[in-house]
Subunit: 109 residues, 3 copies
Amino acid sequence: MKLVIAIVHDEDAYELVDNITEKGFQVTKLATTGGFLKSGNTTLMIGVEKERVEEVLDIIKNVCKTRKTIISAPSPVMGTAGVFVPNPMEVTIGGATVFVLDVDRFEKF
Amino acid sequence: MKLVIAIVHDEDAYELVDNITEKGFQVTKLATTGGFLKSGNTTLMIGVEKERVEEVLDIIKNVCKTRKTIISAPSPVMGTAGVFVPNPMEVTIGGATVFVLDVDRFEKF
Amino acid sequence: MKLVIAIVHDEDAYELVDNITEKGFQVTKLATTGGFLKSGNTTLMIGVEKERVEEVLDIIKNVCKTRKTIISAPSPVMGTAGVFVPNPMEVTIGGATVFVLDVDRFEKF
Ligand code: NI
Ligand code: NI
Ligand code: NI
């Protein structure tokens, strides 16, 4: 048995939990404040059989991996005409930090 | 030294913390949202000497183990007579998921 | 790779996170309620290379170690004269409980 501790961005947490539970894994979400990836992180604990660690890591990677996206930041209104000029910006989102720990003993009561 | 991570139902958490601290163990309660046992879980971390792990697991088992209970769910009011018929239902409550981890090093400052 | 789990007093958490990140370590703050050191604790998770564990432990010790301090507790107002007599009291503050765990595998996505 292994314990996977994954620190992910809040915006990826919902989809990640959904994908992980769909595959039959059990996941616990810890409320996290601040941290590894600047802010707005969620820490997940996933108990997993040794043979399925790779599978869990693949799910995390697929959902959370760092990727670039274009957002349209609002620019200031120009003069009295009130023209709104969208200001496309490339930003990096996502990312996950994952620790896999050995479990000495696992019990369910 | 071992680190016991126990994920329990909120309704069992108070009694469990009480029972554990009474025996001289130190316990830290993490705010948990959602998780392993559907909803309303609490994650506890308990640092414990190797020789006393069994004792901690026994306390967790005694307080948290899955058990059945009868609740009286309100049934819909019948007609104009307003007769309330209690509707006894058997539900399963409790349950704990426990990971015991090896501690490489333990310090108190 | 090691995972350092440090349970510290809330009042030391900010300075500790600051000192740890300044040295290039990554830290995740978990919301903690109650626990090891009576009340108002924060749990920090710090991923760290084996060779730098000592450095992290030193930072925690320096910031959080138990120390005595003098506080002036307000004493009751005496009679109608309303004389306020400061009441110096020595109290113990700080303290940290630290677990260092082996990391089986570490990934960043
Ligand atoms: Ni970020
Ligand atoms: Ni439940
Ligand atoms: Ni205290």
